[in-house]
């Protein structure tokens, strides 16, 4: 992990309030890891945690949704602009723990960290993506996954309803998920019922991104853990 200035290759809007940011970068990254991003001015204070969406030979991609001041400012950056890039941070999905048939379930912007993982898992993964209405980067998942199921709340594209309704949990050995908390809670319960191993990627407000400020505490059966350093990926069995 280091602090550097990343040169932007591309920063474009790909759907309502969803941006794809591509930055020059070389180095090893584990799927599920994230970077702390910040514009070089002081228009907002803390760097923003954003997951690695995809990794190429000389660049990394991020997929982010505009939420507030930080992501709004980041969205104004253009090709060749620089931004503060600090990472890679966190413990990602450990590939050797992801065994057998795997379901990768993403909801909303939570699909972001799952693309790079799917690229690595390839045909071992059945991907389930849940969106409100507009669908994005589904094509890229289709390139790598064994199967890809698209679900929208209004049914305008793909299946209608909630993504969790379309997963047959007893078919899988391992489930990996990132998305809204309600969705992940449901998935954790279903996995427990079906005795399926489950890994979740958690979001917490964080300041340092590396285990110092103790702001992003996750309560686990082993005591307090840090979402930034011990996670963001946790086994669902350890979370209280």
């Amino acid at each position: 992990m280091k602090v550097q200035k990343g040169i932007i290759i591309e920063n474009k809007c790909i759907s309502d309030n969803i941006y794809k940011l591509s930055v020059e970068y070389q180095g090893k990254i584990i799927p599920g890891q994230f970077f702390m991003l910040k514009t070089l001015d002081n228009s907002f204070l803390l760097p923003r945690p954003i997951s690695v969406n995809d990794v190429n030979e000389k660049s990394i991609n991020f997929l982010y949704r505009i939420e507030g001041i930080g992501t709004t400012k980041i969205s104004t950056l253009k090709k060749n602009d620089k931004l503060q890039l600090f990472g890679p941070l966190g413990n990602g999905f450990e590939e050797d723990k992801l065994n057998g048939q795997i379901a990768v379930i993403g909801g909303g912007i939570g699909i972001a960290p799952l693309l790079y993982l799917t690229k690595i898992l390839g045909k071992k993964a059945d991907v389930y993506l849940g969106y409100k209405e507009k669908v994005y980067i589904d094509d890229e998942f289709k390139k790598y996954a064994n199967s890809t199921t698209i679900v929208t709340e209004d049914g305008s594209i793909g299946e209608k309803g909630f993504v969790t309704d379309y997963v047959d949990f007893c078919k899988y050995d391992t489930v990996v998920t990132c998305g809204p908390e309600i969705m992940m809670n449901k998935i954790v319960d279903k996995c427990k019922e079906n005795k399926v191993k489950c890994y979740v990627s958690l979001e917490r407000r964080m300041a340092c991104g590396m285990g110092v400020c103790l702001g992003c505490t996750v309560e686990t059966i082993y005591g307090n853990k840090k979402a930034c350093k011990d996670g963001p990926v946790f086994s669902s069995e350890e979370i209280i």
Binding site: V3, L46, A207, M210, G211, V212, C213, L214, T217, N224
Partner: protein
Amino acid sequence: MANLKTKVMGIEFKNPILAASGTFGFGEEYSQIYDISILGGICSKGLTLNPKQGNKGTRLWETPMGLINSIGLQNPGVDIFIKEELPKMKSFNTIIIANLGGNTEEEYLEGISKLNNTDVDLIELNISCPNVKSGGMAFGVKSDIAHKIVSKVKKNCNKPLMVKLSPNAENISEMAIACEAAGADSISLINTVKAMAIDIKKRKPVFDNIYAGLSGPCVKPIALRMVHEVVKSVNIPVCGLGGIMSSRDVIEFIMVGATLVQIGTSNFIKPDIAVDIIDGVSEFMDIEGINSLDEIRGII
């Protein structure tokens, strides 16, 4: 090259720039980013006699140019610090400062007696954490209570003692004078400013404890004013902190009379910011033809 060495309380610091408690852990994480031996010193995360889980609920909230935290002194306790963290900290080749907090007099005294037998260089007594419900805060608000606790601690402490003040004190100069009279070897200030935030969607305060501590660049003008007042009130050295983001800010604190400074929240903003700040101070001195910070210390 300007000379940044600073000898104070019988301790030689490479330079007057320290990492503030709670914003640098025990140094290990930052040591993976830059060579932290360049720092004048490191203040440990706030320690308590026994391990502490910290607060529940939201612990961080960003404000315009500020950060409100309600960590609640989560820490492994003095014993584990001494056994596991201190040896690593000592290997960083800089001055090691143990920041000690507490809720009761006994807790402080027992903590001190354990730290006495270690090779910690300096104790920073935190009588000012706003995030602990019982006790803690009162020590930092009322001068007479502060005088009592600092006197007892000093009598039982065989290390130099720096007392960290809260900006929430009823009268900051009186507080500093009381600590000096009680035997403090130096004063550091400010700790975080008591603050509040509301989550309007939940229609509730953000923090379970309602109030929490504000830090970052938005508090700097307050910190600078308080350091200025305290420097004029006491004869012991003062360590200034609160919102330092650049070498310029450091120079301002030195000009109002600080002997040492600490970098807090800005470690989060740019994790290697201390490198820029130390270089920047040195560069400023070279450009201005300043040989020693003594030449500008307290000129305002």
